[in-house]
């Protein structure tokens, strides 16, 4: 096939040499070397922001390298665009799915395939292939009606239909239950046995040790190590990723559990959009000094539950929520804050903070009506108390280690981890009696995550009631005294964290606690 004699055996399927990508002055990938061999699962490890996504996007043609060489089966190539990558035999499953909600499964898949295929034939091939690999799918279903796991299957089937030689998967298990993840692993093992290569991006070390043959570790855009994951431990891998020993979250025993501060009783909430999730008969209670964590796969009603508890949505006439011994459905979010509650939403940008506003303005955002500062922040006709906001900003910045370009920077200029520390710090600075926090450390680096988790634990041990909503099981086990699981808008009972295993939670995530499963399709 190729006549350039090579003294190396065997030729790697894909090799990148001195690959560099700069965004302006920022070096996202700094002269990386990496080779991937057929029939193996190769892990790409690194923290958020280490440059993993940038690297694979260049392999997939979604980004163009600033300099460096990509070789495919021994030949130097320029991957011009994703279509070209697919022609070469490279398929990719994105972390954020590239799916179209209002289109059917078959339409979604056909968009990634050559235009000659007829949709009727394609439907048949989807059905047969998805059954072969244990990824059942109904080709005519509307994507909007499918669960996250099913959506991921579309992405995988879409790749497999092109018989890829290399399959790139970006954080595939982040959205899956442990059982779904195991099913995915067996699909991957079968693919590898057929000679396909898999580039597996993750920051979950246990699963990397479970299925990967090689591992490349990135930190701050640079390659720091190539290791055999089978001989490493999770701890050594973590150290390589983070670059220093990993912060251990210190969690003192919880012996000061007092009265209930937050309670939901038979809360029902119909979905207000066609593709939303309805909340069904939700019951929960959080006591002083307790951390209740709600686990669940994304899109099962977490956002809706947060909205009802914060007061941004919900039926004002019902009597299903009690905060500080007071029925509070009729109260606005600011009245709930005045009772001592604080809220941290999932989306930092656009919900918890405003991109083009300064940090002081962003403090004003959630605290203008709290009345818990020495003087009111909003002085009516006297205007806003800017001096006090500046002091608060300095305090929050110091206490929660918010790194910023200048003291009162715009929120949009902070990195994800620093903005999350700011948004959490803004609320914790109030010493709230009740804290509701949705996905506390989603997409932030390990250092910021450890700081935030420690701060949340410390607050609870000082006597606050805390409700954590998270899809990260590691985080749940690190924080929770009590665990409940949400699926399809239904919440399980709360169990002491020590009584539960990951597998138990996985079963509940898949809906084992739901009262009626009439709607389940698969």
């Amino acid at each position: 096939m190729q006549n350039n004699s090579n003294n190396r055996l065997p030729t790697p399927l894909l090799r990148v040499t001195k690959l560099t990508k700069k965004f302006g002055d920022f070096v996202a990938n700094d002269s990386l070397d990496l080779s991937i061999e057929a029939g193996k699962v190769h892990a790409l490890l690194g923290e958020n922001g280490a440059g993993k996504s940038t690297l694979v996007k260049m392999m997939y043609g979604a980004l163009q390298p600033t300099s460096g060489v990509i070789e495919w089966q021994g030949q130097r190539v320029t991957v011009a665009n994703p279509a070209h990558a697919r022609d070469l035999g490279i398929g990719m499953v994105f972390q954020h799915f590239s799916l179209f909600e209002a289109l059917t499964v078959v339409e979604n898949i056909s968009l990634a395939l050559p235009p000659q295929l007829r949709q009727a034939d394609l439907s048949q091939r989807i059905a047969s292939l998805s059954n072969d690999y244990g990824l059942p799918l109904n080709p005519e279903a509307l994507v909007a009606d499918l669960s996250v796991g099913e959506r991921q299957r579309i992405e995988i089937v879409r790749c497999l239909l092109q018989q890829p030689k290399l399959l790139i998967m970006d954080e595939p298990t982040a959205v899956l239950t442990p059982q779904e993840a195991q099913a995915l692993f067996s699909t991957l093992r079968r693919l590898v046995a057929e000679g396909c290569a898999v580039l597996y991006i993750s920051h979950r070390l246990e699963e990397v040790r479970q299925i990967c043959h090689d591992a490349t570790i990135l930190r701050h855009g640079q390659l720091v190590a190539e290791v055999d994951p089978q001989v490493e431990t999770a701890a050594t891998l973590a150290q390589l990723m983070v670059g220093s020993s990993v912060h251990q979250v210190n969690r003192p025993a919880n012996n000061a559990v007092g009265p209930v501060l937050l309670q939901l009783k038979h809360l029902n909430q119909p979905s207000n959009t066609p593709f939303g999730v309805a909340l069904v008969d939700i019951n929960l209670s959080v006591k002083t000094g307790e951390i209740l964590a709600i686990a669940g796969v994304a899109g099962n009603g977490q956002g809706e539950l947060f909205g009802v508890i914060s007061g941004e949505e919900g039926d004002r006439s019902s009597r299903s929520m009690v905060l500080m011994n007071q029925v509070c459905n009729q109260l606005t979010i600011n009245q709930r804050r005045q009772l001592g509650a604080a809220f941290v939403p999932e989306e930092r940008m656009g919900h918890g903070a405003v991109e083009h506003l300064s940090l002081t303005d962003n403090i004003l955002l959630s605290r203008h009506a709290c009345n818990d500062t020495p003087n009111p922040l909003n002085r009516g006709l006297m205007g806003i108390d800017r001096a006090q906001l500046a002091t608060l900003n300095a305090t929050i910045g110091r206490d929660y280690d918010v790194r910023k370009g200048r003291e009162d920077a715009q929120a949009g200029s902070l990195s994800g981890g620093n903005l999350q520390k700011f948004v959490v710090g803004r609320e914790l600075n109030r010493k709230p009696k009740v804290l509701v926090i949705n996905q506390p450390t989603w997409g932030v680096d390990a250092g910021a995550a450890a700081l935030i988790r420690q701060a949340v634990i410390d607050l609870s041990r000082q006597g606050s009631a805390i409700l954590v909503i998270s899809q990260d099981l590691d985080e749940i086990f690190e924080l929770a005294d009590t665990i409940a699981v949400i699926s399809r808008g239904q919440l399980s009972a709360g169990y002491a964290a020590a009584q539960l295993s990951r597998e138990d939670i996985g079963l509940m995530m898949a809906g084992s606690h739901e009262q009626n499963n009439a709607g389940s399709g698969t």
């Binding site: 979604a62 994703p82 909600e101 209002a102 289109l103």
Partner: protein, 306 residues
């Protein structure tokens, strides 16, 4: 020609410019772009069409010039909103204000001059058929163009790959980009198509409806065409029905004036605008329908990360 034929003919004449402008905008919006500049593109089409036809004496050259005028304005819109990522609402307004001004400037030399009318189709024998001959075989050519375009768009969006790509881009530009589609190029093409049909709609006004140039002769039809898009929930069949309904309302007002029922003419003239508002209210009561068909990224600029 019987009275009913005359009424239906005038309704079709009043509806066709609405349908032409709206079917183009439907494609634009399906690709995720909100172009509020229809009125400006339409009035530019009208003045370019009139001027070219008057100078050359050929109505068909007028039609071509009208299409080019509409496309030119739409490309200006595309340049701003797609390449420079400006606010689509404000840019659409700018197109309208600029179009109204520019058309007035170009047209100032043509006010009161005789125009060239695009003649009706005439097929020996068929057109003379009783009752249906004039209606089916004797319209002006642009009526057939509007119907063919509507059918083509309906079929194309639903069954062709191009249609699928347009819907995909309108649904989620980031997903489409991730799959390797050139979002901005697709949107440029759709915007240009919208400009072309708006230009045609303008040509219809100055070459068929009233073959002369009158300042601001679009009289808000571009905005009504926009409302038709919302009213139809972006479905071409409903769009056509809506366009004929509005044409009917327009003509109803004119007939009532002509009959002199003692109703103030201003009240009758306001009927199309009142009807537009009412139609928007009625359609909004079925929110699920609108939400499902609304292109999810409508009006949002797309910036690829490089």
């Amino acid at each position: 020609m019987s009275a009913y034929e005359a009424i239906i003919l005038t309704i079709i004449t009043a509806s066709t410019p609405l349908l032409l402008a709206a079917i183009g905008e439907l494609v634009v919006e399906r690709s995720g772009v909100l172009n509020l500049g229809i009125e400006g593109m339409m009035v530019m089409g009208a003045v370019c069409g009139f001027a070219a036809a008057h100078v050359s004496g050929s109505a068909w050259l007028g039609v071509i010039a009208a299409v080019m005028g509409g496309v030119a304005m739409s490309l200006l819109f595309a340049l701003l909103t797609q390449t420079l990522i400006t606010n689509q609402v404000a840019t659409g307004l700018a197109i309208t204000l600029l179009g109204l001004g520019l058309s007035g400037l170009i047209g100032s030399d043509f006010v009161g001059l005789p125009g060239v009318k695009l003649s009706n189709v005439s097929i020996p024998w068929l057109t003379e058929l009783p009752y249906v001959g004039r209606l089916v075989f004797g319209q002006d050519p642009l009526v057939y163009v509007s119907i063919v375009l509507t059918a083509g768009v309906a079929y194309g969006l639903k069954y062709t790959r191009w249609g699928l790509i347009i819907r995909a881009v309108g649904q989620s530009h980031s997903s489409a980009h991730a799959l390797g589609y050139r979002v901005i190029a697709v949107r440029y093409a759709c915007i240009a198509f919208g400009g072309a049909t708006s230009g045609l709609a303008g040509a219809y006004l100055s070459l068929v409806y009233t073959p002369q140039w009158i300042e601001n002769m679009t009289a808000g039809r571009g905005w009504i065409a926009l409302a038709l898009g919302v009213f139809s929930t972006w479905l071409p069949g409903r769009l056509a029905a809506g366009a004929y309904l509005f044409g009917g309302v327009w003509i109803l007002g004119l007939y009532a004036q002509a009959m002199g029922l003692g109703i103030p003419s201003q009240l009758l003239s306001s009927l199309p605008y009142v009807a537009t508002i009412l139609a928007l209210v009625v359609i909004s009561t079925n929110r699920r329908l609108s939400v499902i068909n609304t292109p999810a990224s409508l009006g949002q600029g797309f910036v690829p990360d490089r």
